[in-house]
């Protein structure tokens, strides 16, 4: 009787578990490619947008550098630091992918910095801000260019936010600030380009 109840109840559940786990693993096998490609493409695209001069991007993997960058960024996450290389392999700048806190969730953005330590431009990779309000950080074409040419976190802090999208635009500003602070912490563009 004792074994009975375990077997009687356990077997169907076990069979269903095995089947669904196998099914999911197979599905995952099929979708893993597209998922990773999507992520890579989104990354490349946004980096291309902020550093149009570069041909290829190389992810910085040195753990010590990344730890330092993350520490300097505070609340903002540093999702990736990239060396931007032109056709000849010379460093033309640094691209940073950062995630900041918006109103409707994380705002992920790419910040490009040229060899002189100046921000080339900033783009939003993904965000979940309220359409019509927070989404002005993208829709308002005058907002993101405000960050162009900045060289330090202190300068970034002075950029004006957008009325009606205060929290969202403050999120973007904080992201740029953190990106610049992180870059400074790891020795600027020179620090990154030194392999």
């Amino acid at each position: 009787m004792r074994d009975n109840i375990y077997l009687r109840l356990g077997m169907p559940v076990l069979v269903i578990c095995i089947l669904s786990a196998a099914g999911l693993a197979i599905t995952y096998g099929f979708t893993r490619g597209p998922i990773e490609r999507q992520a890579r493409e989104a990354e490349q695209e946004s980096l291309n947008a902020v550093l149009p001069d570069a041909k290829t991007f190389e992810r910085v993997t040195a753990a010590a550098l990344l730890a330092k960058a993350s520490a300097a960024a505070g609340d903002v996450t540093i999702d990736g630091v990239f060396r931007a290389l032109d056709g000849t392999g010379a460093t033309v700048g640094v691209g940073l992918l950062v995630g900041s806190r918006g109103y409707g969730g994380p705002i992920r953005m790419a910040v490009g910095v040229d060899r002189n330590g100046k921000v080339t431009s900033v783009t939003i990779v993904s965000m979940n801000e309220t359409p019509g309000l927070g989404s002005k950080i993208v829709d308002d074409k005058t907002f993101l260019p405000r960050f162009g040419g900045l060289t330090s976190a202190e300068e970034a802090r002075k950029v004006d936010t957008i009325t009606g999208a205060t929290k969202s635009s403050r999120g973007v500003r904080k992201g740029v600030e953190a990106a610049l602070a992180a870059l400074q912490a790891i020795g600027g563009v020179e620090g990154v380009s030194a392999r």
Partner: protein
């Protein structure tokens, strides 16, 4: 396809599945409670409305109390006689259940004088808080139907004069309406023994001349009902006609006698056939029932074909 990944996934989910089922199956055996089978049986005999009229938080709690002997088989006022008998049978006892029913002791409604015009929340509790209420009679019905809303058995409704009407078929005598009524304490709603056949629609304790000023339908203490009653069930107590339901034989002499239309046919006694009523009347020999008067009343009742039970509530 990544076979290793598939295997890992299968392993992970199977382990969780097996742990879950093992946990539940063990729990089902280990934590199986030896429930007193009576509890389940009693619970199914109870109405299950969780009305709380018996003083227990739920029907389940009541069933536990009854099974444990902490409460009598007649605990459930709402279920009435049939429930009490069913429970007594489960417990192997006999029981004596006095069924109850709720009665409204007010016939005023729109005939009652208002102290002021009230335009606030349509709730008796709310108007009662405003200078004691707009109905001049201190035991008069406000007519907003707090009792109707509170009734767990859907036995009450408001009539065209905004007075609550109690459906005898559904009323269980749970007394929730009495508790809900801001003037329940003043005697506006009462729970009584349900053998009665008539109801006095007044419960005013004011001086007679004062109550006549505020309401055209009040009891005027004329004693006509008392004189008409063959069994002495209707008595004038402190200036108000009061019925002793155990003595009422449903002859309706008082209904006819009342000059104020203040006594109505109402109560389960009204639906009992004449022969039963006769027996009922005779079962109280000690109260000096005048056999001749009873017979005369019964004869009159049959001749007049009085109000039937269908109209009794209204």
């Amino acid at each position: 396809m990544d076979i290793a990944l598939v295997l890992k996934a299968v392993l992970a989910l199977s382990v969780l599945g097996v742990i879950s089922v093992a946990l539940l199956a063990t729990a089902a055996q280990k934590f199986a409670i030896e429930v007193d089978p009576n509890i389940e049986a009693i619970l199914s005999a109870l109405p299950g409305a969780n009305c709380g009229a018996c003083g227990n938080p739920s029907c389940f709690a009541a069933a536990e109390a009854i099974a444990a002997g902490r409460a009598p088989a007649t605990t459930c006022v709402a279920g009435g006689k049939s429930t009490a008998e069913a429970i007594a049978e489960i417990l192997g006892e006999s029981c004596e259940f006095i069924p109850l029913v709720s009665v409204r002791h007010c016939g005023g409604g729109t005939n009652t004088r208002r102290e002021y015009e009230y335009g606030g929340l349509r709730s008796c509790a709310s108007v009662a808080k405003l200078a004691g209420g707009n109905i001049a009679c201190p035991s008069g019905c406000f007519g907003f139907g707090d009792c109707v809303a509170a009734c767990p058995f859907d036995a009450m409704s408001l009539d065209e004069r905004d007075l609550p009407v109690i459906d005898l078929a559904k009323c269980t005598g749970c007394a929730i309406c009495v508790k809900e009524c801001p003037r329940g304490g003043a005697g506006l709603l009462q729970v009584v023994d349900d053998q009665s056949a008539v109801a006095v629609r007044c419960s005013s304790r004011e001086a007679v001349k004062d109550r006549r000023v505020v309401c055209s339908m009040c009891c005027i203490a004329c004693r006509k009902c008392e004189k008409a009653c063959p069994t002495g069930a209707m008595r004038l107590i402190d200036g108000l006609a009061v019925l002793d339901p155990t003595l009422c034989i449903s002859c309706y002499a008082c209904v006819e006698a009342c000059p104020q239309d203040c006594i109505d046919v109402y109560g389960r006694g009204a639906s009992q056939p004449a022969s039963d009523l006769d027996r009922l009347a005779r079962s109280y020999p000690g109260f000096g029932v005048d056999d001749a008067a009873v017979a005369a009343a019964m004869a009159r009742r049959t001749a007049d074909a009085p109000v039937g039970p269908a109209e009794a509530g209204a």
